[in-house]
């Protein structure tokens, strides 16, 4: 069974990831030329902000401050920065909807399988809702690609290589050791 500390660490790190996705989408809105794509990002800024918000409430229930984030491991942070720096629209869409959101969903599914569904039921409920939301967001992107074929990425290898890299990275930073009383 995951400890309260381990669960809090996962939730606070996932919150960090969602805040980063929110900022990435927000940065892409004024710098992406296609109006329809801007609107897609605008809608999904609100989705990922809500995800971050409910995780930030959950951190408080797990003995951490309200709306607390834990910075992800440096290698994962670098990967996120690399994705955020992408400029062409087809690659931006692929980075968000084919790499990052599916990667986050996979990790949440694994967490739900690993945690005690009764002890950690509030976190499980949050992630189960997110999985539905993530599927909707990815479907919206697919519909947009149907509508605007020019934003479809022609190179499937681009996505495959980044999905492999994302899956190989661990977002969770090393959990600090428990404080122990000394000298008493």
């Amino acid at each position: 069974m995951l400890t309260v500390k381990e669960r809090g660490h996962f939730v606070a790190t996932t919150r960090y990831l969602y805040v980063t996705l929110m900022e990435t989408l927000a940065a892409w809105v004024p710098t992406t030329p296609e109006m329809e794509v801007k609107l897609l990002f605008g809608e999904h800024i609100w989705d990922v902000a809500q995800h971050a918000d409910s995780l930030g409430k959950r951190t408080f229930e797990l003995r951490l401050p309200l709306q607390h984030s834990v910075r992800a491991a440096e290698a994962y942070v670098s990967f996120l920065s690399e994705m955020a720096a992408i400029a062409p629209t087809p690659q931006r869409l692929a980075a968000m909807y084919d790499v990052l959101l599916p990667g986050l969903a996979d990790r949440q599914r694994r967490y739900v399988e690993q945690t005690d569904r009764l002890v950690d039921a509030p976190t499980v409920r949050i992630f189960e809702r997110y999985l539905v939301d993530s599927a909707r967001m990815i479907d919206s992107c697919s519909a947009l690609r149907q509508e605007l074929p020019e934003v479809q990425l022609a190179d499937p290898q681009w996505v495959a290589s980044r999905r492999t890299r994302e899956a190989a990275l661990e977002p969770l930073a090393t959990l600090p050791p428990e404080a122990v009383a000394v000298g008493t």
């Binding site: 929110m22 900022e23 927000a26 004024p30 030329p33 109006m35 801007k38 897609l40």
Partner: protein, 258 residues
């Protein structure tokens, strides 16, 4: 805080460069270069909807930029801005749908991005709330309040419903702008100076880029009160608008042309 800004100079005033637009758009730098034939014809309605479509996209871009440029803002305020991004995206989609119903298309007319160019120059979040939410968007409330009965009178009931729905959302945006501006200036009195400097700069921009004919849009007291303005503030806004209109000969709420 924004670091280096990509800027342009319009009539001697340094403004933020335009946000990205597709090649189909002819981007101009002044509102009076955007076609506006009034309200009477289908062509005029297409022009208005095309202009408002780009306006909603700009407002989305401004809210999104606030999320990026001010990562240390209180989380509750960031949530409001994130929600605003979705609202503005929906408004833009509604207007684009309406444009197509009227036989229009993206890039049919020239567009100007002056709201973005003004607001995105400001380095302080209270200043952006004062200019974007409290001035530009509050001005839109007055315009939308006047537009709904006018559209109904013209028999455009669908368009009236759209404008009415948009106004309901915009009230909340102005309300949270007012609320957070009060909270931020209470916590950090220096923010008042940022706001004052931003409003003075806005006046200079309006003077430099204005020149549109006076549009008679009166301040909507009840709607502004719903959006968090006190009665005294509503009265003051109406008085200042009349003073500004007399001195600059421009539209009531900054550099907008609606």
């Amino acid at each position: 805080m924004p670091v280096t800004k990509d800027t342009k100079v319009v009539r001697g005033v340094e403004l933020r460069n335009d946000p990205a637009r597709e090649a189909c758009f002819n981007v101009v730098h002044l509102h009076h270069d955007v076609p506006d034939s009034g309200h009477a014809t289908v062509e005029a309605r297409r022009q208005r909807v095309h202009r408002d479509y780009n306006q909603e996209v700009q407002t989305l871009e401004i809210a999104a930029a606030c999320l990026v440029d001010f990562p240390s803002a209180p989380w509750e305020l960031r949530m409001e801005l994130a929600r605003q991004c979705w609202d503005e995206a929906r408004h833009a989609e509604l207007l684009y749908r309406r444009l197509k119903e009227l036989g229009g298309w993206k890039g049919m007319y020239a567009i100007a991005n002056l709201d973005w160019s003004v607001v995105a120059m400001l380095d302080s979040l209270p200043a952006r709330l004062a200019v974007q939410h409290r001035t530009f968007e509050a001005g839109s409330l007055d315009i939308e309040t006047a537009a709904v009965p006018m559209l109904q009178e013209m028999g455009e009931h669908g368009a009236a419903e759209v404008v009415d729905a948009i106004e309901a959302d915009e009230i909340q945006h102005v309300r949270f702008g007012n609320e957070w501006l009060r909270r931020m200036t209470q916590v950090e009195p220096r923010a008042v100076l940022d706001v004052a400097a931003a409003m003075a700069w806005l006046k200079r921009v309006v003077e430099a880029t204005g020149g549109d004919d006076l549009k008679d849009i009166s301040t909507s007291g009840p709607v502004r009160e719903m959006a968090g303005f006190s009665q005294a503030e509503v009265t003051q806004v109406a008085r200042l608008e009349h003073q500004t209109l007399r001195s600059t000969g421009t539209t009531p709420n900054g550099p907008r042309d609606e």
